[in-house]
Amino acid sequence: MEALLELRGVTKRFGGLLAVDAVDFTVRAGEILGLIGPNGAGKTTLFNLITGFHPPTEGEIRLRGEAIAFPPPAGVARLAGRRSSLPAHRITALGVARTFQTIRLFKNLTALENVMSGLHPRTRAGIWGALARTPAQRREERWIVERAGECLARVGLGASRDELAANLPYGLQRRLELARALATRPALLALDEPAAGLNERETDDLVDLVRGLRAEGLTLLLIEHDMRLVMRVSDRIVVLDHGRKIAAGTPQEVRRDPAVIEAYLGAEEEGG
């Protein structure tokens, strides 16, 4: 299978803390890759590196062969403040969408308006289009509303389109975040603990949704604490511990891996 996203020797230091330590892995097109690890293993940091929220300290990340994070610039470029990655909005435009661990919707916008924001990188109208209200701009606005409506319907939020995001119940807010990410028309959808705070039924719905999206050709990267969920939906799993990759493979392989068992249970044994 073709590699959609490749990480090579990706490292992130925050001062003296080594949060991510020379991690390599590949996300293949069309798969669901689970990223797991104990608390503080560096999962969310790695997520932020992939989506351009932090530039890596070292290493390289490629999306469809194109570098989105690269070894840090040296000399003049460094002094001029060049980052070692593309900015987040460019990476979104290239086809990586994300959700957040703690929901970050635009609370005072309606559900529809939230999703409309996701269509920003897929549309073009600028200042002149808005001021002159050209036919092209009006056509684009109609398309945005229509397309946002479709994305809402896709996650089953069609009935709440004019509801303020802040007024939606928690489970629906999670879905809305997903719809908003889908609106950017990603190739890779990165979900940061999408099942956090959901009850069993909502989690089941989420599994169906994730599988459905994959069937439509989307690739998914999933950070999840809920082991049962990860084991159920992932094609492959990468395990992080203390910032390092300690295992990778199918759910069955990972479950039997001694290093993984050690990482998850080791602390308890030492403590006992």
């Binding site: 989506t51 460019r90 979104t92 920003h120 109208a125 200042i127 606005e141 802040a166 908003r180 950017t184």
Partner: protein, 332 residues
């Protein structure tokens, strides 16, 4: 009484075109029964509404603190004045240059400081405003006339008729004001307008949606500055004198108050703010020395009683009310 008012409001909501036409008619008829003095007051109020609307793009829509906005007003006025005095360009023909130069200055000044947030941005914009004022006082390039400014600017003329009477300037201002309101209305409801809202609400989430926060903020600053330049050009044509005082800090503060007290992000709010900050002190001239006190007291009272402004936009009201409720709610 209350019922009939509510009924009128209901009709107004259903027929926005009717309301707009009525307001325009009112604005057209307003100066007719007034004396020249009050016509000038109306003109001044209109100019401040124009300035308030331009600042509203920056403060209201994009949520950025700009406490040096008067600098761009002054740049627009000086551009028109210099072009007119040095190159003999008719004033109305110089207006596009006022807009362009103020917009370009907005770009150059704000480009390096865009990554600053909140109060830091406010401090830097105050400093830039002062820089512009001092540059004008120090006779920059020998063309700004120093502390006395420039005088003897031609009045604008339209179809060969010189606009001299206050009422003519009032209608000139009204024309540009109508254009501005239409433009702001369109910006609010555009892709760019939504991007501003998103950046104001949550910059990181906006970046995750592919919105280039730096770019849309810069666009807000440039549009706001350019529009202030237009107001500056109109000012130069009416008074025929420009002075560095146009860029003084107090002027920027008044503009900021117009936007914030009237209702951040709201077009009618800017009207309310301009009436409170400009018209009222002008009408009660004997109390003019108390203007700063009036400003201070209103600020304090408003911030306690109604932080979202007198006539806020629906969204800003929700934002501010929501934050208050969150702050009141017990932790966890």
């Amino acid at each position: 009484m209350i019922e009939s008012a509510a009924a009128i409001l209901r009709i107004a909501r259903r027929r926005p075109l009717l309301v707009q036409a009525a307001l325009l008619l009112l604005a057209l008829l307003l100066p007719l029964p007034l004396s020249d003095y009050y016509r000038t007051v109306a003109w001044r109020t209109g100019i401040y509404v124009l300035l308030g609307l331009s600042l509203n793009v920056v403060v209201g829509y994009a949520g950025l603190f700009q406490l040096g906005h008067a600098a761009f007003y002054a740049i627009g006025a000086y551009t028109a004045a210099i072009l007119n005095l040095r190159c003999g360009v008719p004033l109305l023909a110089a207006l596009p240059a006022s807009v362009a130069v103020a917009g370009a200055a907005g770009y150059l000044i704000t480009r390096p400081i865009l990554h600053l947030r909140g109060d830091y941005l406010a401090i830097v914009t105050i400093a830039f405003g002062e820089v512009v004022r001092l540059a004008l006082v120090n006779n920059l390039f020998g063309i700004t006339g120093g502390a006395n400014g420039l005088s003897g600017i031609d009045r604008p003329s339209l179809f060969g008729v010189e606009l001299r009477a206050p009422i003519a300037h009032y209608y000139l201002m009204l024309f540009f004001l109508a254009v501005t309101i239409a433009a702001m209305h369109r910006l609010e409801r555009s892709r760019l307008g939504r991007a501003w809202l998103c950046v104001r609400e949550d910059e990181e989430a906006a970046a995750a949606m592919g919105i280039d926060a730096t770019r849309v903020k810069l666009q807000a600053f440039v549009i706001g500055s350019a529009w202030a330049g237009l107001a500056g050009g109109l000012f130069a044509g009416k008074l025929t004198v420009v002075a560095p005082d146009l860029a003084k800090f107090m002027e920027s503060v008044v503009l900021f108050c117009i936007v914030v007290l009237g209702g951040t992000g709201s077009i009618p709010g800017v009207f309310v703010g301009a009436c409170g900050m400009v018209t009222l002190p002008e009408l009660f001239r004997p109390l003019r020395d108390w203007r700063d006190a009036w400003l201070g007291i209103t600020m304090v009272v408003m911030m306690i009683a109604r932080p979202e402004g007198i006539w806020p936009s629906r969204r800003v009201q929700m934002e501010i009310r929501g934050e208050k409720e969150e702050a009141r709610a017990p932790a966890g």
